[in-house]
Amino acid sequence: MTVISVPGSATDTVAPTTRRRRKHNVLLIVGLTLFGLLVLVAILAPVLATHDPIQQDLAHARLAPGAPGHLLGTDELGRDVFSRLLYGARVDLRVGVLAVVSPFIIGTVLGLVAGWFGGWLDTLIMRIVDVVIAFPFFVLVIALVFALGAGTGSIYVAITMVGWVAYCRIVRGEVLVAKEQEYALAARASGLPTWRILFRHLLPNVVLQAVIFSMSDIVLTILAIVTLGYLGLGVPPPTPDWGSMIQDGQQFLLTQWYLATIPGVAVVITGLALALIADGLVERFDSR
């Protein structure tokens, strides 16, 4: 779950005009349910798993799904795919969400500041953004992970250093619009301090687009980890994650297609859940 709350938006009284659409926010309910299930599965992985996910059993390698004792079969080293999938959810969801939280916070704050104050501060921040954007995403991330050394910690740092620019741009653009709105002028006219206007008045009104982007960004981050794994810079083996499962399974695509497909479906379901949440949030919170 994301930890972003939108202050002041939860009300007991609901206007007649908005009641209908809030009651039937199917997108949000389905999305949250799906994502909640995924999180639950990740948390309960030790309970639900039927095997040790890194226990090799070469005698029973590459069993098809439905084989006795192995619900989704085994991989080329005889490890239980079902158990690896559950433990993979732990790794991928944790890294995906955590690697989005810090770029989200950093980018949002810098975007707020750049958009509100303008001038040289805006120029400075946006030039840095331009520099970061000028490099292809993976080139920069790979270079950073190399410099920092492989491991999940480096992945967080590298993705944060590259990922904040998207949030910064989104939020800055929204602030440029919002600060000309009369409610922002009114807040200034009533003498409220700047930080308070920024975080209490502007932030709740501009953060929605960033939240929505973060939903798809989580999926992109999981895919980035998959890619890094491919280059040997991702989550170190034998820790199961969906990326390395896809990577390991792809060499058997013609014979055991399900080895790559099953974790692929898991990524797709995660993406779907987050996309539904994003759409649901738009419906729930967009006041326009």
Binding site: G8, A15, A186, A187, S190
Partner: protein, 365 residues
């Protein structure tokens, strides 16, 4: 040269609650490096170009003028939303340095034009008011809720409005909330920037009545900005007519309406559409020969194109009377811009026109 206009001592107090002297607000376009290399001249918009104003306790000043003449910029300057390029603003006799301090903010508050964008959509009415009451320590913390309910009573909204968000209100109700927000700080001056122009005509009257009632009840002074002459006439004690960043005529409401001296004021008054009941309207200027009766005044020159001499705001590199390009009675002397000239025998009036004391018979009535 500008002449400070004496405020007539009506029955109300004469002490100054808001003063503006020589206020200038120019906006300079941002120059890119390319502009600097090619020596593209900077584009300066003189939104407010030397304004003097005095507002007395309990007085309502109507500020009129066409769109883009600087009314809103002037009111935002007074409100302390811009740092003025030059000039002085005084709140209750105390000069504002740069932007108003937290304490000074309480003196002057504003009612905004657009009730749909002027309230934070993510905050309930109670949160909006409570924040101000707490931050400015208007009342002790345990009385914030009670004071919020009082404010709702004051603007004629039910108490449960405090728990709702702006989205759940109509335009007129939102404007009431906007007024409550302005009153939360217990200001002495209320600046109403086109407070009703975004509202349905049927709702406009109720909001204007509310404002005039509150003014009496709380002893407020008010600057009422509008392009709607009829509305301004209804609420104002005194009127200032603004044209391209300057005040071109000022006087008591009825004086302005009965005897407009500046050609622009005349144009403005003639432009108000009214029911034709045999009453003739004349084109402005010397021009019985130019137009026919039973027509609205002919406005020669649209205030739109940015660089045109007809543009609503003044631009750099101009000289002479700013109304000259549109003026039907321009003379050679108008190459010098007149300040606000006093009108003989009437200390409360002034007009920025060389014709100010012309015999009235010279002009078409």
């Amino acid at each position: 040269m500008t002449v400070t206009v004496e405020n007539p001592s009506r029955t109300r107090g004469t002490d100054e609650v808001l003063g503006v002297e020589g206020l200038v607000q120019h906006f300079v376009s941002r120059r890119s490096w390319a502009d600097r290399l090619t020596r593209t001249p900077q584009h300066v918009v003189k939104a407010v170009d030397g304004v003097d104003l005095t507002l007395s306790t309990g007085e309502t000043l109507g500020l009129v003028g066409e769109s883009g003449c600087g009314k809103s910029t002037l009111s935002r300057c007074i409100m302390g939303l811009y740092r003025p390029s030059a000039g002085e603003i005084r709140y209750a006799g105390e000069a504002v340095r740069g932007l108003p301090s937290r304490a000074q903010r309480r003196t002057v508050q504003m009612v905004f034009q657009d009730p749909y964008s002027s309230l934070n959509p993510r905050m309930t009415v109670g949160q909006t008011l409570g924040e101000l009451l707490r931050y400015h320590q208007i009342v002790p913390r345990d009385q914030v809720a009670a004071r919020s309910r009082e404010l709702m009573d004051l603007v004629g909204l039910p108490h449960d409005a405090l728990r709702r968000t702006p989205r759940q209100f109509s335009g007129g109700q939102r404007q009431r909330i906007g007024i409550a927000r302005a009153l939360a700080l217990q200001p002495r001056v209320l600046i109403a920037d086109e407070p009703v122009s975004a509202l349905d005509v049927s709702v406009q009257a109720t909001i204007i009545n509310l404002l005039t009632d509150l003014r009496e009840e709380l002893g407020l002074s008010m600057v009422f900005v509008s392009h709607n002459i009829a509305v301004v006439r209804q609420v104002s004690d005194r009127i200032a007519v603004m044209y391209r960043g300057r005040i071109v005529e000022t006087g008591l409401t009825e004086q302005i309406f009965n005897d407009p001296r500046h050609p622009y004021t005349q144009l403005l008054l003639e432009s108000v559409p009214r029911m034709l009941s045999g009453a003739e309207t004349h084109p402005i200027g010397a021009a019985d020969s130019l137009g026919t009766a039973d027509q609205l005044a002919v406005v020669d020159g649209e205030p739109d194109a940015d660089e045109s001499p007809y543009s609503a705001h003044a631009i750099e590199g101009e000289h002479g009377c700013r109304y000259r390009p549109r003026c039907p009675v321009a003379m050679p002397v108008c190459a010098d811009e007149p300040g606000l000239l006093p009108i003989a025998g009437n200390p409360s009036r002034a007009a920025a026109c060389w014709h100010v004391d012309d015999d009235r018979k010279d002009k078409p009535r």
